[in-house]
Symmetry: C2
Subunit: 381 residues, 2 copies
């Protein structure tokens, strides 16, 4: 029994998603694309879907399906009002149920007017450069660790890193609010350590505590961090939710740059046939949800991203997305000082180099190692 037709109030503007689809031939690819257009909207059998506006305008519209390599690329548009100004529902339309279907991958998306009500990154590349007073060169980042160190132990490291001229000193993403590493004490000690060091160096280093945590404590932790001198926030959207990052970015009482860390996000790019492209995961989605810097594991470290995937990520951080600012790719994951010149050929100047454990190796003197890192990068800017 087909349900009754109704009128739906739609402006006519649409956003577009590009999906890779596994299929044996053009016909099967077109069938799968049409299935997607229904699955992501009305989630109703074609023959039961009400005629008129719902069938013609609420259901996704398959704009094109064409062969690309060993897959097909389908372009599907959706009415802006189906997502509205809600980025979570946007994510749902883009890849809610289809995440459960094999052989569907989101390559990229193109926004129209409606999603632009979202603000995106508060700082972006220019804002962060201004904040840290770094004109042209790449920025430097490291993480305080290991897990198990007390806030006092960690603050000692923070101090040395800042003294050595590291721009951004962030919590390791495993630092939460453990009994041996109390969040508040850590924030106060490491924020103070950076301020002390800055007063000696004249640099504008910042400390970014990890505010990923219980959903009902994230904003509170971010506000505490702001009040106690932290210069930015580390956040893991894969653990605590993409939209929670947007809330942090939008909050007028916080106004701190956000570095997004990929914990638990790996499964999105684990399969070439499912999930999101590297371009979308580490570029577009990060900007949609307000990150100013996007951490990812660079090629040649402990992880397995290829050089091409890293190039895709860079492109995702800077491709035109209307009012959504360009952000910093932040390659890490086992990088060493020796790799910087090679990395530079791909990342250029608009990059934040994240070196963790590797920074402890150059010599026995941590501050000296940081200076070496700083000078190496300074010479490139």
């Amino acid at each position: 029994m087909r349900l009754t037709s109704v009128d739906v109030q739609l402006s006519g503007t649409r956003f577009t998603v590009f999906y890779s689809i596994l299929a044996n031939d053009q016909k099967e690819a077109e069938d799968r694309a049409l299935g997607l257009a229904f699955e992501q909207t009305v989630e109703f059998p074609i023959d039961l879907t009400p005629a008129g506006d719902i069938l013609e305008r609420v259901v996704g519209n398959v704009e094109s399906v064409r062969k690309r390599g060993d897959k097909f690329l389908a372009q599907i548009s959706y009415a802006d009002e189906v997502a509205g100004p809600d980025a979570v529902q946007f994510l749902n339309v883009v890849f809610g149920n289809s995440s459960i279907q094999p052989g569907i991958r989101v390559e990229k998306f193109e926004l129209n007017s409606d999603m632009k009500r979202l603000k995106g990154p508060r700082f972006g590349r220019n804002g962060l450069r201004e904040l840290l007073n770094v004109k042209k060169r790449p920025m430097l980042c490291t993480a305080i660790k290991p897990l198990g160190y007390s806030p006092a132990d960690l603050a000692e490291l923070t101090y040395k890193f800042a003294l050595g001229g590291i721009d951004i000193i962030k919590d390791d993403h495993g630092l939460a609010d453990q009994n041996f590493s109390n969040f508040k004490e850590r924030v106060m000690r490491s924020s103070d350590a950076v301020l002390n060091a800055n007063s000696k160096t004249g640099f504008k280093s910042i400390y970014m505590p990890n505010v990923t945590g219980p959903a009902d404590q994230i904003v509170e932790r971010a506000k505490f961090a702001k009040e106690h001198g932290a210069g930015g926030l580390l956040f893991c959207p894969g653990l605590s939710g993409w939209d929670q990052m947007r809330v942090l970015a939008d909050d007028e009482s916080i106004q701190l740059p956000i570095m997004s860390h990929p914990a638990m996000i790996g499964s999105l790019t684990a399969s070439k046939d499912n999930g999101f492209s590297h371009f979308a995961t580490y570029g577009q989605l990060q900007r949609l949800f307000g990150a100013d810097a996007s951490v990812f594991p660079s090629w040649g470290g402990r992880f397995s991203f290829s050089k091409e995937e890293c190039e895709e990520i860079v492109e995702g951080t800077q491709t035109d997305m209307g009012n959504f600012k360009q952000i910093f790719p932040t390659p890490g994951g086992g990088m060493t000082l020796e790799r910087i010149p090679e990395m530079s050929s791909v990342y250029g100047n608009d990059v934040i180099y994240l070196i963790g454990g590797g920074l402890h190796r150059h010599s026995e003197d941590l501050v000296n190692n940081c200076h070496y890192f700083h000078n190496l990068v300074e010479s490139m800017g």
Copy 2:
């Protein structure tokens, strides 16, 4: 330069995670397991990690690595304090950075005392049966749709479903707060519709609105739903974050059963070599984060889960997890009335059958179709 050793305050209790690991031989599997134990905790090179408590107790402990099929199964234990009572940090330890490494999959986890400070599902199987006054038989569920219908249109459907004896009438997960489907109006109208129908049938049907949405509006929407007569909540942890579901479950001013929907979760089980098992994704994690019912696409519908994967899910909803209650597997995704007898052989009585579009097919009379569904299931209980 190895960092200075420090004492860490640890009780000695540990939780355990079982990972499938891709490797060519036992030696490589053991190396990868050891790498995991470091990656998920100190994220530091082995030779730089401070000796003493950090190296011996904070770093994960590889308990065993053995061949299983064409992979290896590694059992790694972590100190309870590394996660503490924070389920988000627990998720991070279990599968934060390792999500980005190929060939690592979480099969299951075993909790110890510390995580038991979490409350888990408020209702669980017994609580939901009591609430809906359904003693033994399977429960019935359907979704109001399609997207594009107004709150009044949808409430008309809700009324018919309740009149026909459907226990749980939920929002389709694509219903958010669109201009054509205002959240508050929808909640009020459909909640009223169910109450009206209940007064005629004597059943205790409930309406579950979808409260997935902007991170800063979820709790508010859930409270509104509670105040206006909704009987439960639909929530998509893949879209809005796992821990936000826990917050809803724990909130004493809400106290409504929660049905978890798998939108955006598909990538966790999309690869046999990455992510989480079906058992963990649709069973254990749902319980850890407070769902009372776990929706998943059953075998034989629009999606691709196998019968064996569905059996695994059932086991995940009921396996012993200490104080975490057993919950209802809720198979859907293109199920029809005709499939119920076959499904019954796998799901037994402790199941919620979710039939959406299929419920419109049996005859032209929707209420009659619901009665048929109800009687079919009643005869099995």
